[in-house]
């Protein structure tokens, strides 16, 4: 920035000619556009816009002009100066952009290279599926109920209408806790959680109970002594088999997709009366494989339906043993094996993969099933 030059003798100043101003401007613009890089542009700036540059000098002379000439000269020189400044700025922008582009280009990397921070681990699919089931039912307003794995025999059997010498109780292949006659077992199903729910909550009861259970089976491709179940229980006024069907249909759609449904086949469970097996419509072929040898379905064995679990209307004897007023309340319950669900839902072929703890099994699922 330069102030008025007080030493300057205005009398000696020659008024600037228009041609002179234009020439100065054109020389500057030519020099800027000819600058090959930022250093050359900086040099040209010193020459054409620096303190000693013609345009700056000319500007100083304006003050020395007679008043009547000042305005015109001021306008002319101001315009030229602006043109030179603009010329510099635009060239600077171009050169800076070129410079940045060159620099970024040299910094190019191979983004496909691996890095050393830990990869995402994985949940076990049994955990993921039990969480998904819990989410389906909490969305309906149900609670997720839990209980211990070493359980009182009474809660595992008697409270659920499994009488001491009834064949159903023997069919369960129970692990008993020492000493013999301790009245304690490893729970053979998640149903004792239902008994606990009835003993501790007041109706209406809407609970879903995922959990680990135990039976004395040897491990093979389709059996394991330790496995996961999920059971649901509802006790409320006016609960019917129709409500059970509605709930199962909703469950099937939530887990396997729109348009699917559950089917009930009469069966026997001490806990429920009436009792039924739950089949789900095959989510792969949707029944199209039945009687159609050209289109076999591995998922359902071309049956069109897949056996999924058991269910029924809670036997009033169970309600009675757990202190629920059978005149006022009724209920339904259902249960499924989660390993089995994963087997047909996600194509797991061997039960052993699910229980051996090989990390490769979990890793193929990651955080999703």
């Amino acid at each position: 920035m330069s102030g008025p030059n007080t030493d300057y003798d205005p009398v000696e100043v020659t008024p600037l000619h228009a041609e002179e101003v234009e020439r100065t401007r054109d020389e500057a613009l030519t020099a800027f556009s000819g600058a090959a890089d930022l250093a050359a542009l900086q040099e040209a700036k010193t020459v054409h816009l620096g303190d000693k540059s013609p345009i700056v000098l000319a500007n100083r002379e304006i003050g020395a002009l007679p008043p009547q000439a000042r305005k015109e000269a001021g306008q002319r020189i101001g315009a030229a100066r602006k043109a030179i400044n603009d010329g510099f700025a635009s060239r600077l922008a171009v050169l800076e952009a070129e410079h940045e582009e060159r620099m970024l280009d040299t910094e190019r990397v191979d983004v496909t290279l691996p890095w050393h921070t830990p990869q995402l681990g994985a949940r076990h699919p049994l955990s993921l599926i039990s969480e998904q089931v819990a989410d389906v039912f909490t969305a309906l307003g149900w609670d997720v109920a839990e209980g211990p794995e070493v359980e009182a025999e009474w809660l595992n059997f008697d409270a659920l209408n499994f009488q001491p010498d009834h064949p159903a109780r023997q069919m369960q292949d129970t692990f008993f806790v020492e000493p013999a006659g301790s009245g304690k077992v490893l729970r053979t199903h998640t149903s004792p959680v239902q008994a606990r729910s009835m003993l501790t909550r007041k109706p209406p009861i809407y609970v879903i109970c995922p959990g680990r259970v135990f039976r004395t089976d040897e491990l093979d491709a389709t059996h394991t002594p330790v496995f996961y179940q999920v059971e649901g229980l509802v006790v409320d006024e006016g609960i019917t088999l129709a409500h059970l069907k509605g709930t199962l249909d909703h469950f099937v759609v939530s887990m396997f997709g729109e348009g699917l449904e559950a089917r009930l086949r009469p069966n026997f469970f001490p806990f429920t009366e009436p009792s039924a097996e739950v089949d789900l419509k095959c989510f792969v072929c949707r029944g199209a494989s039945v009687g159609n040898p050209d289109r076999p379905c591995r998922t359902c064995g071309s049956e069109g339906w897949i056996e999924w679990g058991g269910c029924g209307v809670v036997n009033p004897r169970v309600l009675q043993a757990n202190g629920i007023d059978t005149d006022r309340y009724s209920g339904f319950a259902f249960g499924m094996g989660l390993e089995r669900t994963l087997m047909f839902r996600n194509g797991v072929e061997d039960m052993r993969d699910m229980v051996e703890g090989d990390v490769r099994f979990s890793r193929q699922f990651g955080m999703e099933i």
């Binding site: 830990p118 681990g121 025999e153 409270a159 010498d165 009834h166 202190g323 051996e356």
Partner: protein
């Protein structure tokens, strides 16, 4: 229960074209668990042949084959090679001809063998898919059973579908063709030709003498006697075939007839050689010390609870389970005493379990047999013995029958509809109940004083007037009085009848209605935080695994757990999968380290795994869990004692790290996972649930004694983390310097905040101060840091350790810890002297507490 379709058709007039699969489908819809349908893949030509000639031809391999000519109803004889020798010229045999396919997909063609061209072959029972008949040769038909050229498939009903049904405990009657036929008849809406509909020709008296001492356990006992049988007679082929198809081997006419009648009617039968019985048959409980050699030639010690069949010689059978060897019928038997009885299901179930002896008889008695059957079944056995073994049926008959008649049950007429949530009319209900064999009478509502009975124990009608039940009487509700049939002892409660009506109404016809639950509260705090811990661990690169919770001494030894360590006090199983692992885990690491071992063994050297699971911690005093009555809710005290009897079962989280955390790569050298990573993961878990634990060095197996961090919250130890002891790594085959974490997740979560309250944060500038302190080497950095924080007071915003130095400059047995302190005030810019004072106050606490010396420069 194996059910040949041809046998079923005898009692049910099924449409001619239905297949085994069709019937199975119908039965499944009616609630029978048909597991498989065996469909015959047999195709002809398969014909009856008459042996015209045969030549015995010894072979070099030591065998002698027969070169036979057979009349198969054509002009020319058929020539075949046969390896069997149990036939003579003139015998009728079954001949499979080229072009046929035998069961199992064996295609038959003319082929050269033993120097002849064999145009087909003569078939054995097994080759025809009938099972091994024990004849060790080909099937020889009875004279006149067929004529040469007859289609043998039709003649012998060879192409028969067999349904295999898993009978549920409530459907004992379906352990018979009669019972399945009843279901099939209902399913197809046709008449049942009841095979038990027989003419009884017994006198009801003067039979073999019987005394029943325990009428509760044995409510019916019937005997008939057949004399002069030929015990060596062969059972008729149709009977043999049905036994084989049902999975039983034909043995002798006496045994076969008893088995056949059991399959047909469901009534187990026992037969005695009358000559080997001595004196009156007495049904009683066993005396101490009594023994019995059963039919399987095992001598069994009897229990005082065992119900026995005895005679003057002592025990001759465990009632309903297995007979004794001493009175067994044999080839020499001429006079047979037939026993058909009814035993209490529980008595039989217990005896069967006690003697680990599950027989065809016990399986049926356990599920309760129709108490009306014994006389009919004994008659049927007698009839068959008379017909096929040439015996004479004595009219004398022993009939002991104290079995109570089925009690009628009263229920609301619309009960089935109310249970189903469907429109099932009264007519339908009555029709369905009638078709399962119930007698149904409508009872006018006002004829009954007391209301009934959506619930339990609907009292018998006779009792209703005297009993007040509940208070939900619906004015004018119609009632039904239903008497179940003798073969359905499982029908007791209103819901039992509802099930029958609904299953025949069709579960498919019940509508689908999603019930509206009252508003829920979502997951509990604990459930939410457990999920977050798992998610955080996965984010940190860990993979979740599952393992069995079973453990044993080998695991504790490998972990270096001392003999007197509390973790060795476990909950044990009476019947573990493996005797080496009788205990439930008290530490997750016992099983998680085995899982790590398996993974490392499979080539995964760099491992970061975690697991959540319960551990089982016995209480100081172990009490048995009570078994309260199920007639009503147990008292609160009883419920509490149920809960108290159980071990503590907190949820733990375990982590094992092995090998490299960071692999060596293009970025440079990798980094092994070490003790600090384990400790950091434990800190991560704590911070996920909002807990700031206190950490200190301790010595504890299975960790390295100098590299184990104990985590505690408010003075309670919640777990440990650090490097594993070198011996533990070795014992589990893990890479050196593997590390592990185990935390009590339940305790951590319980210590976490209910919710978080936000605090304002200051927008004034921060003042940073570094301080380096020389302290004795054994002083824990965490303690020094806590001291600094304590001394620095309210202005301290954070303190972080950023350097640890040991070396000559600071002297032996000492270390230098460098901390970065940040100070800030909520309401002003701090002055220099304020910061300096706070810093000095912080340092002073470390000086006083640990003799710390500030390191300058």
């Amino acid at each position: 229960m194996r059910v040949p379709l041809s046998w079923l058709r005898e009692y049910v007039d099924l449409p001619g074209d239905v297949t085994g699969r069709d019937v199975a489908e119908k039965l499944i819809r009616a609630g029978l668990e048909v597991e498989t349908v065996e469909e015959s893949d047999l195709t002809g030509p398969l014909v009856v042949g008459k042996v015209l000639t045969y030549e015995n031809e010894p072979q070099k391999n030591g065998k002698t084959i027969r070169w036979c000519s057979l009349d198969i109803g054509k002009d020319e004889p058929q020539w075949v090679v046969c390896g069997a020798h149990n036939f003579e010229v003139g015998d009728l045999v079954v001949v499979v001809l080229p072009g046929a396919v035998l069961p199992g997909g064996f295609a038959i063609s003319a082929r050269k063998t033993y120097g002849h061209v064999s145009n087909g072959m003569i078939c054995s029972s097994a080759e025809l898919g009938l099972g091994d008949d024990g004849m060790h040769g080909i099937v020889v038909l009875e004279p006149g059973e067929g004529t040469p050229g007859d289609d043998a498939i039709e003649l012998l009903s060879l192409r028969d579908d067999v349904l295999d049904i898993a009978v549920t405990p409530d459907r004992g009657y379906c352990l018979s063709i009669r019972g399945v036929a009843r279901e099939a008849a209902t399913a197809y809406g046709v008449e049942l030709k009841d095979p038990a509909d027989l003419t009884l020709n017994g006198s009801g008296a003067n039979g073999y003498p019987v005394r029943v001492d325990d009428a509760e356990a044995c409510s019916v006992f019937v005997t008939r006697t057949v004399t002069g049988i030929d015990a060596k007679a062969l059972s008729p082929r149709w009977m043999q075939k049905r036994l084989l198809a049902s999975g039983m081997r034909p043995i002798s006419i006496g045994v076969d007839v008893a088995n056949y009648v059991m399959l047909e009617l469901g009534q187990p039968i026992h037969t005695y050689d009358q000559a080997r019985l001595s004196g009156e048959i007495v049904v009683r409980r066993a005396n101490a010390g009594e023994k019995l050699m059963t039919l399987d030639d095992q001598t069994r010690e009897l229990d005082a609870e065992d119900l026995l069949i005895t005679d003057d010689s002592g025990p001759i059978g465990v009632a309903g389970v297995m007979g004794g060897a001493s009175t067994e019928i044999s080839d020499a038997t001429t006079d047979v005493v037939i026993e058909a009885a009814h035993f209490d299901p529980i008595v039989i179930a217990r005896a069967s379990r006690r003697h680990k002896l599950s027989s065809e008889a016990s399986r049926r008695f356990e599920r309760e047999v129709d108490p009306n059957l014994p006389r009919y079944a004994a008659q049927r056995v007698a009839d068959l013995l008379a017909e096929y073994a040439g015996g004479t049926i004595l009219p004398d008959e022993t009939v002991v029958d104290t079995h109570p008649k089925p009690a009628p049950v009263t229920l609301r007429a619309d009960h089935a509809a109310r249970v189903a949530g469907a429109v099932i009319t009264l007519d339908e209900t009555v029709r369905h109940l009638t078709s399962v064999g119930c007698t149904v009478e409508a009872a006018a509502a006002d004829a009954v004083a007391a209301p009934l009975a959506a619930g339990v124990h609907a009292p018998a009608l006779a009792e209703v007037g005297a009993t007040t039940v509940g208070s939900t009487h619906v004015e004018g509700a119609d009632l039904l009085t239903v008497t179940p049939p003798s073969w359905r002892p499982d029908l007791r409660d209103p819901n039992d009848f509802a099930e029958e009506a609904i299953r025949l109404f069709g579960f498919d016809n019940v509508p689908s209605v999603l019930p509206a639950a009252p508003g829920g509260q979502g997951l509990t705090v604990s459930q939410r935080r457990r999920r977050r811990v798992a998610t955080a661990l996965v984010g940190a690169g860990l993979t979740e695994v599952v393992s069995y919770p079973f453990t044993g001494d080998a695991d504790f030894d490998a972990m270096g757990v001392p003999a007197d360590d509390v973790r060795r006090t476990t909950v044990k199983l009476v019947n573990p999968i493996s005797d080496e692992e009788p205990s439930m885990q008290t530490t997750l690491l016992a099983t998680l380290l085995r899982t790590a071992e398996r993974n490392v063994g499979r080539g995964a050297n760099d491992l970061a795994i975690f697991q959540t699971g319960l551990v089982f911690l016995p209480k100081a005093e172990t009490k048995p869990a009570p078994l309260p009555s199920v007639a009503q809710r147990p008292s609160d005290a009883e419920i509490q004692s149920l809960y108290d009897a159980l071990p503590d079962q907190p949820l733990h989280v375990g982590v094992v790290l092995t090998g490299a955390l960071t692999p060596t790569g293009w970025w440079g050298k990798g980094r092994p996972a070490g003790w600090a990573d384990a400790v950091q993961i434990a800190r991560l878990i704590a911070s996920v649930v909002g807990v700031e634990p206190v950490v200190k060095n301790v010595e504890l197996a299975p960790w390295h004694p100098g590299r184990c961090a104990e985590f505690s919250v408010e003075g309670t130890v919640v777990g440990h983390a650090g490097e594993l002891h070198p011996k533990v790594c070795q014992a589990f085959g893990l890479p050196a310097r593997s590390s592990a974490v185990e935390l009590d997740l339940d305790a951590l979560i319980a210590a976490g905040p209910e919710s978080i309250t936000a605090h304002p944060f200051s927008s004034y500038p921060v003042a940073k101060e570094d301080v380096a302190l020389i302290v004795p080497a054994e002083v824990a950095a965490a303690d020094v840091q806590a001291a600094l924080a304590e001394g620095a007071g309210e202005l301290l915003e954070s303190v972080r350790l950023f350097d640890v130095y040991t070396g000559e400059q600071i002297g032996e047995g000492k270390k230098s810890l460098a901390f970065a302190l940040r100070f800030r005030a909520p309401d002003r810019t701090l002055k220099e002297n304020e910061v300096a004072d706070a810093r000095q106050a912080a340092v002073q606490v470390t000086v006083d507490r640990f003799g710390a010396v500030q390191r300058v420069g």
